[in-house]
Subunit: 77 residues, 2 copies
Amino acid sequence: MANVDLTVAAVFKKFRATQGVSQEELAFKAKIHRTYVSQLERGLKSVTLKTLLEITNALGIELMQFMQAVDDEMKKA
Amino acid sequence: MANVDLTVAAVFKKFRATQGVSQEELAFKAKIHRTYVSQLERGLKSVTLKTLLEITNALGIELMQFMQAVDDEMKKA
């Protein structure tokens, strides 16, 4: 099975880049620590659904849009 | 915003009942503690995507099927 945390990391970085939001901005908007954003983007932490929802809200994307991208990546792997 | 952990709890219980799996069986199959299953079903913990994937595998359902049910419930609330 593909490592879900590494997949989330890649999808996360992609969406943040597409939305043109820095790690600092995202951390501020999602009310999480910038270090935590960095850890998520390196696949070092497993994100909770609660935090993921705060992140997708901060990025202005739908939770399901994020999850679909994760699922697509995992099925490719 | 709807409380995602309470929504996950409700969806979780629903799928476990539909699949006819006890908390004990699920805990064993997903390699998590039975107490943790119980806490998730009461909305006391926020599940990580990694654990959620182990749980959906153990229940024999797709991650996206679970997530879609969570999303539907949150939009209703």
